[in-house]
Symmetry: D2
Subunit: 351 residues, 4 copies
Amino acid sequence: MVKVGIIGATGYAGGELVRILLRHRDVEIKWYGSRSYIDKKYAEVYQNMFELVEDKCLDDNIEKLADAVDVIFTATPQGYLAGILTEEILNKVKIIDLSADYRIKDVSVYEKWYKLEHKSPQFIEEAVYGLCEVNRDQVKKARLVANPGCYTTCSILTAYPLVKEGLIDPNTLIIDAKSGTSGAGRGAKVPNLYCEVNENMKAYGVTTHRHTPEIEEQLGYAAGKNITVTFTPHLAPMNRGILATEYASLVPKADGTMPTAEDLRAAYEKYYKKEKFVRVLPDGVCPETKWVEGSNYVDVNFKVDERTGRVVMMGALDNLVKGAAGQAVQNMNLLFGFDEAEGIDLVPMFP
Amino acid sequence: MVKVGIIGATGYAGGELVRILLRHRDVEIKWYGSRSYIDKKYAEVYQNMFELVEDKCLDDNIEKLADAVDVIFTATPQGYLAGILTEEILNKVKIIDLSADYRIKDVSVYEKWYKLEHKSPQFIEEAVYGLCEVNRDQVKKARLVANPGCYTTCSILTAYPLVKEGLIDPNTLIIDAKSGTSGAGRGAKVPNLYCEVNENMKAYGVTTHRHTPEIEEQLGYAAGKNITVTFTPHLAPMNRGILATEYASLVPKADGTMPTAEDLRAAYEKYYKKEKFVRVLPDGVCPETKWVEGSNYVDVNFKVDERTGRVVMMGALDNLVKGAAGQAVQNMNLLFGFDEAEGIDLVPMFP
Amino acid sequence: MVKVGIIGATGYAGGELVRILLRHRDVEIKWYGSRSYIDKKYAEVYQNMFELVEDKCLDDNIEKLADAVDVIFTATPQGYLAGILTEEILNKVKIIDLSADYRIKDVSVYEKWYKLEHKSPQFIEEAVYGLCEVNRDQVKKARLVANPGCYTTCSILTAYPLVKEGLIDPNTLIIDAKSGTSGAGRGAKVPNLYCEVNENMKAYGVTTHRHTPEIEEQLGYAAGKNITVTFTPHLAPMNRGILATEYASLVPKADGTMPTAEDLRAAYEKYYKKEKFVRVLPDGVCPETKWVEGSNYVDVNFKVDERTGRVVMMGALDNLVKGAAGQAVQNMNLLFGFDEAEGIDLVPMFP
Amino acid sequence: MVKVGIIGATGYAGGELVRILLRHRDVEIKWYGSRSYIDKKYAEVYQNMFELVEDKCLDDNIEKLADAVDVIFTATPQGYLAGILTEEILNKVKIIDLSADYRIKDVSVYEKWYKLEHKSPQFIEEAVYGLCEVNRDQVKKARLVANPGCYTTCSILTAYPLVKEGLIDPNTLIIDAKSGTSGAGRGAKVPNLYCEVNENMKAYGVTTHRHTPEIEEQLGYAAGKNITVTFTPHLAPMNRGILATEYASLVPKADGTMPTAEDLRAAYEKYYKKEKFVRVLPDGVCPETKWVEGSNYVDVNFKVDERTGRVVMMGALDNLVKGAAGQAVQNMNLLFGFDEAEGIDLVPMFP
């Protein structure tokens, strides 16, 4: 049994890691780290875990933890892991970081968007961006996995085949994303109160959201050049789920004609046909967040708009699963040579 | 007292007309038309009206109704009014049509998008598109007002000043709109069941939604040319509210520089400063649907994205008020010379 | 114009007072008191008030306020008003207190349930319990009105006629109440976060909720004796609304037979037939919170259960209107001799 | 592998059976029966099953099905199974019936409450009421299992230990239950539309709900006598979950004193300590539906109200899992000698 430690086990992503790992056949959780709830029973923080988890929350001593477990998940605030990570720790234990600390290769971009000084830029280069469907082979060999953000996983996978195949102009890409409220975390803030979110829709972080450079970097690799995109997140009155609606101009083919729906579908099939967790929906069927809830699936589809020469791409995932804990476990499965779907082969729950 | 008849009084828009008109000081409702509930007490269909409305639902005999009232609101399916409207009726009574029958000037565009034959195209020309803030003067003199759609009211008013002033390229306009479920009507359909909508987000009608040509026509007038836009509606798990997030490329000024946020704000102020029902929010504040719920307000704002040369515009309204019944009453107020805000001077309800 | 001051204007009940008073024809709000937001524009705290309220929040100096206005609403934490109220203030200004400080006549009961020392018990005797339908005449002459709690208004009015007429045994009364989350206030607490409340139902304060003694006292007056009841509040995933389902054993009539549905209906009609804001629904129709949302109505009904000899009573109201701000304004209307319905003659909003 | 057929696979309970059985290691689903969707791909009816279920829906030919599978789940309308069941079928295949047809031993009670003639009363006697925690041994030997209702499972398990041990007077039992909307099924009806249910609470079926006699029969067995109870179901704005709040008078002990909280807790522990799926929560912790969502758990607890001599009992479950499909699989596990928790050892999903 692989031994697992979680730092930040009492946030929503941490809670989801616990939910998934409890039913993973090859691991056992040895450490429920939580600065806020030290010595409190984990099942008192998340009562759904009553009689399922008997452990108490521990502090977040990463050095002690590195001796005790084989892999650490850090579901911690930005800058936390960067501030404590050392070569010694990395020599002892695999780390899957759910924060943004090692996602962006250009440290100045990180520091500009996150308004933080990066305390351990020496590890950025070796960190593997854990978008499994794109970087599977590198993940297998990594010591440090930068688990992608929720919006970014959805945004990238929705557009990836068309960018990669040069079917759309990536600089025309506009991403309008709608997220459930668990993405805002479990902190006690007025804007996240039930009565403020319920029966309400709003955009936030317009033109400034931190997931923007992450999307640009990754889709830039696919495009083979630097790109800029417009990304607008929205808060939706639901617990879970991200829906990304993405717009881009089609690039004429060599013969001057526009790519057809068949061309685009072929691109999606090329990259996702063998991917268990990316489902390219049938023609005419739009992704819905409810159809993937509780599961590790991303549902994607697209519609060509011949009148405007654009394509509308759509992707849906559960922000806590494929957008956070599920993908983190998928990365762990790759790191340890487990079946990639072990523990995350969850059937979406409907309704 | 002006006498009012409603055809289609038992749909959600019809119910909202009743809610508003009951507190309008210059009118009385004489006719609750409803094909589905003839002879049933209106307050049994909408129990919130218990002890407030004693009338029974009547059939939708428009000729009889034209003799009985001064103004008729038709909150009816597409094609209904076009199928029964006559010159004789229009000579007797003002009509405010909440359907799309007379919104689009080019009958072939109507017939293509609505997949219906238009039965009375002879009235299209004289019908006034009842977007009060834009066509106030024409509305005052109309016999027949085509009350705008919910998505269109929101989409147009959000972008109008920038299109009108030539600050954005209207052919780059992408409108990503999110609507509450009352917009889908009160028909008993599986996709509108609580368990199908709750905890769910989805796009629908992608590239084919009927409000698209209406937006293109009206913003085309503002632009002074024919335009095409991309419009994507989404269903959100809330009762009321539309949020439109709109994207367009800025047009460089004569001196080659890009318009600034100040330039854009000046355009919004130019058109909306005196408008009671359009609120241009302070810099940095995003519209939220909850802040306008139950009221006739449209809240708008924008953010310049210098990195991409685009502007992100946002608008929020209550789809049943400014998006339907409230604007219909605003049009009625204009038609009869009442205070434009009478009956619709409602304070948004929060939470 | 009567001048109004609000202390605690930025809680949800305070916000609802503002919503209602802005459309009241006989008053103007002169003071938006809020300890937490001093000097902040009120419309920044509640953006729905943008362009409707230009004032800034002021501190809660009640002595200064007493000189400036004719009536003060205190929507403040328990113990606040009791700690600052003086004879001098009461000589200058009417006070309508939305807290519990003066609701309970027996100060020891207050102190036991609220775990607070009462700082000004000398005013308890003269304070009038502002349940308008029961104490209308006393309210008119009061200086100090103790505005009833949200659960209590609903619970008492639902059972009052049957208790008053001796048709049920009040000591068998069990009240199972379900409340929307605005009742929990606008404080930033984890249990009130969207993701904790949404898709969830729970009881809380079981056997210990502070509204229990208030219900017992008031229904005890109706019964003509001391009574004890079981009261269980529940948190429901909705913004507004309280539904009280109440159970009691029927008391046999003098001839030994059980009271019939007709007997019970006659009792409801006796007390409520002339009451504008209490609607006794038709036989077989259950109250629903949505039918009274945004309005000052209480909808009540009942069903006799012949198998068990019990009656099931049901009542629904909007906790922020009839359960707080609306009833407070109703009391103000009584105090100042306005039409009792002025400003609160609101049509319920559906959906 | 045990072969499974489902009749009524496209209702919400049928969908949940599929979700659970797809991950059950000892069975395979051979028949997705659905009268409404014959020949349609199952994954088109429930898009969450895309790429998970390739089968089409079949008709509901139970005789053909009895030859093809080892066990049939019937998630069908009342009266359906009773109308087609034969000795021949029962000789070939085990049947787990999620309808009420064989739950009630007294056929006249069934016919009175369900207003249906029972077409095969000869099987009622042998049918085992599949409340696993109470009737585990009988289930193991059954041919025909009557799977309990959602409200009844929750209501009975919440009160069972106290009734069984004689600590409460069962004739004083009042059950106030709140259910998510999936309990109302997937039929297209106006009262189940999103806009009708959202932001709303209501009671329904007051004094007449069909689960009443089922509760009375089962708790009557525990009490050792016939009993009557008051049961009131409510519709809550959430997808899943039932919360039952139950009230009863305590029965004095032999020495004349009232049972204490310790006495009551001992009774709960006696019956549930070894039960995996019934969790008796720690003192002071109230069950919440969200804590059991997606799982087969029932969380129960209680609070003594010394002032009134009553106890308030509370129970929470997921109506589609322990209240329907999960318990049906638990019964199947018992029937076939599988691990009782196989396939239903699901961790509750939060949030």
